[in-house]
């Protein structure tokens, strides 16, 4: 008899993983089904990484409520999960007198949503706070912060796994059957059974919902492109710098964000697109980003980018409707099937309050018993680069593999790569190593360390060449050997 789970979460983005972690506090058998080869295969890895304060969201919306709650607990959350967090604060810049009115609107909305610490500052204060920035006034939000969206998602998932949640990757859900007291969920020639299903499939949440007859939802994918600028320029700003939101207000517009790892993030654009998997970047997008960012920070170089990428917002309102909807979290028709539809920004900020809300809904259906040995702590992995010289010396003495540097840009050691490889989720792809250990992410984008990592995979970890993947099946790196091994041995 196939195992029956209490709960199956579909989608291992930041929302699905936060839900999984909240569920792992209880004596439940929980499984997460993810079509990608790793957590964070969707919007959760390609966003601004901003812990929003809550002044951008409509008064009284779920977005506003969960955002403000999320902001309040975020620092604690990151300390439990060993995730970088930095309260940098944010300036929304008015570049004309007309913009100033907008700042007042945001300020008012913020007050009503319960956002603390907001103030409107004048040109002189802007210059004092951010000498490189051009503006006539700004809304200052001291509580806005930054984090690493992918490290948070990974940490949620790892902590959930530590506490017993099972993760199934490369498992695209293709059909769901309602049985008497459980669901049969089909994926990749296999199936999983669970009493209750949480649909956290991001851009595909409407498709998953329609599998059991909720046909009223529709997701409108809206792509946001980014450009990442070399950390050599990180001194240009100390806070997040935003334009006042564009007229249509369905997005926040291109902004300039410091990242917890150093580089500056520029973006995102906003384009409603047909194909919800199309995370391509475009020349017009890249050019627009740089142009808009330089309007507000003229000293920003246009030539020193290290990479470009894009993420897709799962909007539940179309472009024609203005693109601005609230989160839909409901189980109207089939109480054991919970849909999360349109979890766009501030989904990262809101992830834990959202998850707690979902667990509350579940508690009305299934009796939840707290687990005695739940451990909320997921220690941050050791990073040689962040240690003092003395600490490095001590660490290498204890574990020599910390002395073998694999990545020259970010100073990542072999031990850190091996630790990333031995992650509890069992992810073994290059991209998995990249997001966990920060190899291949520096300014040379793997030009140096990829060769070393491949050699570690082959020689230390005995991975055959055709088992080395960038991410999903099909993303192979090598097509064969140049020479057969035995030929090489001929004297």
């Amino acid at each position: 008899m196939t195992e029956l789970f209490n709960i199956a979460v579909i989608g291992a983005g930041v929302v699905g993983c936060a839900i999984a972690r909240e569920l792992s506090r209880y004596n439940l058998k929980t499984v997460v089904l993810e079509k990608g080869s790793d957590v964070c295969s969707g919007a959760s890895k390609a966003n601004s990484g901003v812990v929003h304060a809550g002044f951008n969201n409509a008064v009284g919306s779920l977005k506003a409520k969960f955002c403000v709650q999320g902001n309040e607990i975020f620092e604690h959350l990151c300390s439990e999960l060993g995730v970088p967090y930095k309260r940098t604060g944010k300036l929304v810049i008015a570049q004309s007198e007309g913009d100033v009115k907008e700042l007042e609107n945001l300020f008012e909305a913020g007050l009503k949503n319960g956002v603390k610490g907001l103030s409107i500052v004048d040109r002189k204060t802007v210059k004092m706070m951010e000498p490189g920035v051009e503006g006539v006034a700004a809304l200052y939000s001291p509580n806005s912060a930054i984090t690493s969206p992918y490290l948070l998602t990974i940490a949620y998932a790892e902590n959930a796994a530590m506490n017993g949640v099972k993760f199934k990757f490369n498992s695209e859900v293709t059909g769901i059957e309602r049985k008497k007291s459980y669901f049969k969920i089909y994926h990749d020639g296999d199936y999983t059974q669970a009493e209750l299903v949480v649909n956290a499939a991001g851009c595909y949440a409407d498709k998953i919902a329609s599998m059991i007859g909720y046909t009223e939802y529709k997701i409108y994918p809206c792509r946001g492109e980014y450009v990442l600028v070399d950390k050599r320029w990180s001194h240009l700003i100390t806070r997040m710098i935003y334009h006042v939101p564009p007229k249509d207000k369905s997005v926040l517009g291109v902004h300039i964000t410091p990242t917890v790892e150093g580089p500056i993030l520029l973006g995102p654009t906003a384009d409603f697109i047909e194909d919800r998997d199309d995370t391509s970047t475009t020349m017009p997008g890249i050019n627009q980003i740089i142009e808009e960012a330089r309007k507000i920070l003229p000293s920003l170089p246009s030539h020193d980018s290290i990479t470009a990428f894009s993420g897709i917002r799962a909007k539940n309102k179309s472009k024609e409707e203005g693109g601005l909807g609230d989160y839909i979290i409901e189980n109207r028709r089939d109480s054991y099937f919970i849909n999360l539809i349109g979890i766009e920004s501030p989904g990262l900020t809101a992830s834990t309050p959202l998850a707690k809300h979902v667990v509350e809904m579940i508690s009305e259906l299934i009796k939840l018993n707290l687990k005695e040995d739940f451990n909320p702590i997921r220690p941050a992995p050791i990073r040689l680069a962040e240690l003092s010289h003395e600490q490095r010396a001590e660490l290498i003495k204890k574990e020599p593999l910390y002395g073998e540097i694999v990545c020259r840009c970010e100073h990542v050691s072999k031990k850190e790569v091996l630790d990333a490889y031995n992650n509890i989720l069992g992810v073994k792809t290059l991209s998995g190593l990249k997001y966990r250990a920060r190899v291949m992410m520096g300014r040379c984008q793997g030009g140096f360390c990829t060769a070393k990592i491949i050699s570690i995979l082959q020689n230390d970890l005995k991975t055959p060449y055709n088992g080395i993947l960038l991410k999903n099946p099909g993303s192979y790196l090598f097509t064969g050997k140049v020479r057969e091994e035995d030929e090489k041995d001929v004297k």
Binding site: V227, L228, D277, D278, T279, S280, T281, M283, G285, I286, D304, S305, I306, T307, A308, F309, L384, H389, E390, R392, A393, E394, I396, K397, P400, L401, Y402, G403, E404, I405, R408, C409, H411, S413, C444, Q445, G446, G447, F448, A451, I454, S455, Q458, Y465, L469, L470, K471, P473, G474, S475, Y476, L477, F478, T479, G480, K481, V482, R483, E485, K488
Partner: protein, 416 residues
């Protein structure tokens, strides 16, 4: 506890530049010379260059990269020069302290003089902003060379190469010989960037199409590369709408330029020339920080290893003299060289008055039958005929010390 080591001359990097500098430092009297290399063997980038063409100037022979390196490695061993492998310098301070990590521990090397010989790294897709999806199968040329020549791994079946510099050209031939179909080499400039001999021997001999004034505008494919979009560019190197073409391939090789690897130099506060992206040095190859010298690709990207060797020998010699307190204190300020028509870079950027100096130039535009003029205090003292120039080939000229002893101004230009 940090493991402390004191040396006269520390050399960072064990490629041809580092090897020659270390040998020369020792031969010029420095007692304790330490060479530090992060790779698992000496030789640097030469280890993966198994084609020939190295050593033509110095040895009058066409050697492979490893053969060339071997000559210097043997000499280093014979001179019993200390070296550390698998050892990465993580930090360099202005007072010439080096923090080095390896499996034996974390070391603090205190050096009287330092030679920077870290080589260079490749420009990436992100740096040149190629739009499109992000599948596997996009490699920088050097990385691909490493996989094929050092790790015995084949990287694809059909490829498009972006960039016609020597690295791109050599990889086009190498891949063809291994059975990969090269669909095209795409070059944004209106002329091939590599040496003429490489265009002939690596492309024309194998009928590989070269698209000049073209660039890759988009990469297509979800899991693995499936195709690239290329387009013609205008005089400003901007893609011309409507000229796009799709070329099928499973591999994209980027050979779009090398950047001197000066993270450590910057950290130490060494002044960097924005054009060469290497340190600003004087005739002694001394950087803006006294006692720190630079040579090889970390100073400026070289096309011939032989010149790297000669340059590094000088850097090693001056570093030794500095460590021994024998560096002559010139009684006059250094003379800055000003760049005129069609001169993009010059190394060294500053002349120590009275010292014989070899100057290396790069030009902006290719041309035929030009003259390189070196003008000292308004007098044209060197006129060098250049039958053919291109931005990819360095021009060299020797400036005798007697001309600069009392000079105020030095100007260079390449004219009709």
């Amino acid at each position: 506890m940090l493991n402390e080591i004191e040396v006269d001359v520390a050399v960072i990097g064990g490629g041809p530049a580092g090897l020659a500098a270390a040998i020369s430092a020792k031969e010029n009297g420095a007692e304790k010379v330490l060479l530090i290399e992060r790779g698992s063997r000496l030789g640097g980038i030469l280890n993966q260059c198994i084609h020939d063409g190295f050593g033509l100037v110095l040895f009058n022979k066409s050697l492979t990269g490893p053969e060339y390196a071997e000559i210097f490695i043997e000499k280093l061993l014979k001179l019993k020069i200390d070296y550390m492998l698998n050892s990465m310098v993580l930090e360099l301070t202005p007072s010439k302290k080096l923090y080095v990590a390896n499996r034996n521990g974390y070391h603090l090397v205190k050096a009287k003089a330092v030679v920077l010989a870290m080589g260079c790294r490749e420009r990436t897709r992100g740096a040149i902003k190629i739009a499109g999806s992000r599948p596997s199968g996009v490699y920088t040329a050097g990385l691909a060379q490493n996989f094929i020549n050092l790790q015995n791994l084949m990287i694809g079946r059909t490829a498009v190469i972006l960039g016609s510099g020597d690295v791109g050209l050599i990889m086009a031939r190498r891949l063809t010989l291994e059975g990969v179909k090269i669909q095209a080499v795409v070059e944004i400039m209106p002329f091939p960037y590599g040496l003429r001999r490489n265009v002939v021997q690596c492309l024309e001999d194998y009928n590989i199409p070269l698209h000049l004034s073209h660039t890759v505008t988009e990469i297509l494919g979800r899991s693995r590369v499936e195709a690239v979009k290329i387009a013609k560019v205008d005089e400003n190197l901007k893609p011309i709408p409507g000229t796009e073409k799709i070329i099928q391939c499973d591999t994209v090789l980027l050979s779009v330029g090398l950047i001197p690897e000066n993270e450590l130099s910057r950290q130490a506060g060494v002044e960097i020339d924005p054009k060469t992206q290497g340190p600003v040095v004087n005739s002694m190859l001394q950087t803006s920080i006294k006692g720190i010298f630079a040579c090889g690709n970390v100073l400026h990207v070289n096309d011939l290893v032989d010149y790297v060797t000669v340059e590094a020998q000088k850097a090693g010699m001056w570093a030794a003299k500095y460590a021994l307190n024998e560096l002559p204190e010139p009684d006059r300020k250094e003379i800055e060289i000003t760049l005129g028509e069609n001169v993009r870079t010059v190394v060294p950027q500053k002349i120590v008055p009275g010292l014989d100096t070899s100057l290396f130039f790069r030009v902006y535009k290719p041309g035929k039958n030009k003259t390189l003029n070196i003008i000292v205090d308004g007098k044209n003292i060197i006129q060098k005929k250049c039958p053919s120039i291109t931005p990819s080939e360095m021009l060299k000229a020797d400036l005798k010390g007697e001309y600069t002893l009392n000079a105020e101004k030095i100007h260079v230009e390449v004219c009709e």
